[in-house]
Amino acid sequence: MTNPILSVRNLSKSYFSNKQFLGKKTEKKAMDQISFDLYPGETYALVGESGSGKTTTGRSILKLATPDTGEIFFEGVNLLELSDKAWRPYRKKLQMVYQDPTASLNPLKRVGKILEEPLIIHRMGTKQERLGKILDSLNAVGLSPDHLNRFPHELSGGQRQRLGIARALIMEPKIIVCDEPVSALDVSIQAQILNLLLDLQKKRGLSLFFITHDLSVARHLSDRIGVIYQGTLVEEAPTDELFSNPIHPYTRNLLASIPGKKPDFSGTGTPQEGHFVSKKYW
């Protein structure tokens, strides 16, 4: 097996509620000793209910949340030890697609400006070269050059998310963290956006770190799935293995809760290679 592009080791973070009168501070573990690897060209889906810590994990990779302890290795460098300034070159390689495309695009900027901003930030190319890149990335996500002078509110929801993906792609990142990128979209648009992501990944050899609560989306998209429950990674396995041979009781519950057909747990009940099961929460 090749070396992982991103290795996350023992990530932990706790939030404390405000101290009550005569009471104790209550601790809420958003991440509890989370470890996983992400390989080049792979899609890894992190699945869990709301509040399970999946978003905090994704945000930690991009330094939008600071873990209390743990290490994140990217190309052999521990990202958590870097200062803000030393982190900046890595921002090009680690990008994010947001859940709500409307809120994540500046309403006062036109499409062209939104896409040009990352290129200006990283001082890439002349004005002409930048325009070329912008047109390329618009084309790659299925938008046309006509959209350049539109404002985000003049686009449809699906087009906005395409724009969000184009913005993440324009710096040619190695990893894209997708935080529920389709949950704010109409069901009819969701499949288009998911297929676009898969397509781009194949063409460019990207690694996708996909955060979702929707198991059918994870199954459609990912090579491996991690299940997170109350800040703990309870089970991790290749997609087919997880769906046929879930071992942790929480995973079994989660799979059984998919509406429609009855789950078919035909597996052996013992973990295969690459299948990790936590001993917590049995």
């Binding site: 991009l62 939008l64 994010m96 409307t102 994540s104 500046n106």
Partner: protein, 278 residues
Amino acid sequence: MKNQNKSLIPIWIGSSILAILILFAAFGPMLSPFDPFEMNMAERFSPPGLANLMGTDEFGRDVFIRLAYGARNSLLIGFLVAFLSSLLGIVIGLYASYYKFLDHLLMRICDGLSAIPGILLAIALMAAMGPSVTNIVIALTVVSTPNIARIVRSGALVIKKQPYIEAVHTLGGSHSRIIWLNMSPAILPALLVQASFAFASAILSEASLSFLGAGISEPQPSWGSILQSSTHVIGRAWWLALFPGLLLVLSVLGLNLLGDGARDLMDVKLPTTKKGGR
């Protein structure tokens, strides 16, 4: 479309009033043959007529031309105060919203300044610095900056939490890029509206200061000091109170209409910032 036309009416009225005032300040002195400082004791308290459009004061000076020169002072001071306090206010408000340690420092200073009634603070500053137009501008800027800073800060705190600001951070944008290129444009509508109110209140404060004798001092003309001179002769020289009072009411009304209209208009124009958040 009809709705939009409706909300333009206050802007039209407000800007017409303001335009008339500016024309009055710019060309009024040229229309009158009188000198604002020339006394003519034979013509004291002559009522408005063909010779003196708005009558004369206790020294026989023409009120029309003194009001026109006073308008220059009022508009100049009002504009400078609005401009300077917007400039200071946006810097203080944006940085306070962005950096937590600056927030405590800057906002406590603003709290302290706004704990003192504005006009009292202005009088104290004028007493300390001495009367001059520059000092009036400084004193009134000190008075109105905390308000603007607070409004900028509260707006910026909302914008700062928007995912599109975080997105710029993820793209590697520097703090100053986020503050000046991404947050400040979203604040601008609110700032412009607040600046027009600051303009109006600066005109009013200048008149109050001059009325109280702490602002522009005689023989320099000011709406406030002309009003002041009318107080003991109001029974026989009503024009000394009516015309400067009318000008004050009109200018404040015009600016407030402009500000209100702009606020309504720009709220309509920015639907995505309101709907976008969660």
